[in-house]
Symmetry: C2
Subunit: 387 residues, 2 copies
């Protein structure tokens, strides 16, 4: 349900507008339907969520259960087909995880095979992509039992994730209250890292940024972005329950601020989100600045793929949430991506903003020397900008 | 879950093979998983269906319920965007209907907007396509609450249909027994009609077929194909319960024989399907022959889009099933497409075949004079070739 990273934001918005035309009840303009009527001629109990948020929530005809599902597909953005499959799967599941859902009953895979590939390349690449997707699904405790493939000029990869939940299994993303703290579970800058990596082979582009970054740093950042995008947000989803999260979303094509705004709009209370800190993959800030700020990274508008969860937590729980995320992170496999306190929830008009001079947290790649020395992770952020 | 009409069959088969790699348990080679293990660490009751059939059936953690879902997307094949939206929706829902499921809890729409369209065309075409999709969903008693859009060289339209069912709501497609009768609920020849319509503007192609068909007949056949593809198989799904159907599938990209073979492979009993009659949109047989039989229509291999259900019925129920389908058809809106007895189920080795000289049933377009005169519909077929 989240947006693809490929088209520029203006097109994205046009598409969202198009899809919003599908809503049966748009009276409140929030993309959230208050209409409890069902097509089965009866009033179905339970919350209902429609277009514009991460997943749709459909009350079922059976026993107070809800169907929660989401779909996402996009174009490959890393060169490794296996990792691309993992990223696509993590990106689809992330929409469920953003609702605190840790289980998934079924996945379908959506795939288009490029007509421009010869048979040999196709037979090499596509099974790897499928394997990556399947392995990530297995890591998420689910499996892929169906799908659809077509031939297309471009490769497309994506999927559908569905789960039938009892009411206590998901957290509706509308309960933030003033005093809450905002936590982000993956660093920003994936798109910058992916692009910078492509520029290694484009001298004209590379010359623009080579004064601020080494080739080695770009390669490390690219590896970091790839592993971060392939990391499931499942640990964070589980901790949302443990630490009583009030609302969450995942950060993808609209960037941190775009998704923070979408989430703020959905809140029942009159709240505003204020973001003070931006955890960003190391060196991506410098690259973004050297590139004329075209990514709008520091404005929170650089697209992310399979980004972290943005979670609204009670103030007294946020530090514990981050500490536990960090513990999970230390196991290299199944790394959860860490967590950073990035802002607060105030009384306000259901918008999100970034303060004028946000603190940039340079997140070192996990394989790097800096990462091995800096194990303080979430410590310093807890006290800064938030008092 | 069915195949797209665009790529040639050989590519389709390669894709199916690719996707089959997703199966957790392929030991029996049927694409049907006998594995009742779940990812939740418990044995879940209920049947389970995987890749290769119309829908997947996933036993849920809750109260004996199953999640049944399917996805399908393809490229526009008719010029009318509204009708194209309807067809795409009917095609997705058809996979549920093939299991005798008449309700759908939720639909997601998958859409790619062509980068080659200018903004004006895009704003005209895409909302119509979405509206057609939504209207067909409403006719099916369901609604569209989410989706994903990307920009792509080609327009893609499709969706996901999901329903949570009690065991008595669906009919597993594996219960055919010798003595059953095969019924088809829409005529064949949609791909021939769509292609012939394009050839009206291609003199070289048109010259090959103009001796066997008039321009007017091609236009009528195209209209008939369009309405047939946009017709939901929902009536047939309901009647499957009433008349105790033993198994069914829907006819799409692999053609009648391809899908009949897939269905035969899934049967629990040692059966074979023998097809004697081919109901085909009027004049499409002649066009297919004049075109050097490139469509392989009479071999049952011409791709269909949003085709009818192929239903295995107890012999004593088949005529009643067809008669009731005919009654539903007479209401112009929500036409169910009629029904024809096309063959029998024998003892055999789980394959389907068409007899050497099948009887061709020329199905007149519903708007035509012939259709108004020939209201006998399913009558003649009942006695022929089946004794």
């Amino acid at each position: 349900m989240s947006s693809s990273t490929s088209p520029p934001p203006s097109v994205e918005e046009a598409l969202l507008k198009l899809l919003a035309g599908l809503e049966p009840n748009q009276a409140d303009g929030t993309g959230k339907s208050g209409d409890q009527d069902s097509e089965f001629g009866q009033q179905l109990a339970g919350p209902r969520l429609g277009i514009g948020l991460d997943s749709c929530v459909i009350p079922l005809r059976h026993g107070g259960l809800s169907l929660v599902q989401t779909t996402d597909f996009f174009y490959p953005l890393v060169e490794d087909p296996y990792m691309m499959g993992r990223i696509a799967c993590a990106n689809v599941l992330s929409d469920l995880y953003a609702m605190g859902i840790t289980e998934c009953d079924n996945m379908l895979m959506l795939l288009s095979v490029s007509q421009k590939m010869n048979e040999k390349d196709r037979e090499k690449v596509m099974p790897l992509m499928i394997r990556g997707f399947r392995d990530a699904a297995e890591e998420g405790g689910t499996s892929v039992t169906g799908g659809q493939t077509v031939i297309n000029p471009w490769i497309i990869v994506g999927g559908v994730a569905s789960v039938v939940c009892q009411p206590n299994e998901f957290i509706m993303p509308d309960g933030a209250v003033p005093g809450d703290v905002l936590v982000l579970t993956k660093p920003l800058g994936t798109q910058v890292a992916v692009n910078a990596h492509q520029w290694l082979d484009q001298p004209e582009r590379w010359n623009k940024i080579k004064l601020v970054v080494t080739r080695e740093e770009v390669k490390e950042a690219y590896q970091e972005a790839m592993f971060s995008m392939a990391t499931l947000n499942r640990t964070a989803a589980g901790l949302m329950h443990k630490f009583q999260a009030h609302a969450a979303t995942d950060v993808t094509g609209f960037g941190l601020l775009g998704h923070a705004n979408n989430l703020a709009m959905q809140q029942r209370s009159d709240v505003a989100f204020v973001i003070h800190n931006l955890p960003i993959i190391a060196k991506m800030t410098a690259i973004s600045k050297a590139h004329g700020n075209a990514f709008r990274l520091l404005q929170g508008l650089s697209a992310e793929t399979s980004g972290g969860l943005l979670v609204c937590l009670p103030r007294e729980q946020a530090a514990k949430f981050c500490a536990e995320m960090k513990n999970h992170t230390s196991g290299a496999q199944g790394a959860s991506g860490g967590a950073w306190i990035i802002g607060i929830v105030e009384k306000g008009d259901r918008r999100a903003r970034i303060i004028e001079k946000p603190r940039i947290i340079e997140v070192p790649p996990r394989g790097s020397l800096a990462a091995r020395q800096d194990n303080s992770a979430t410590g310093p952020e807890l006290s800064s900008n938030l008092s």
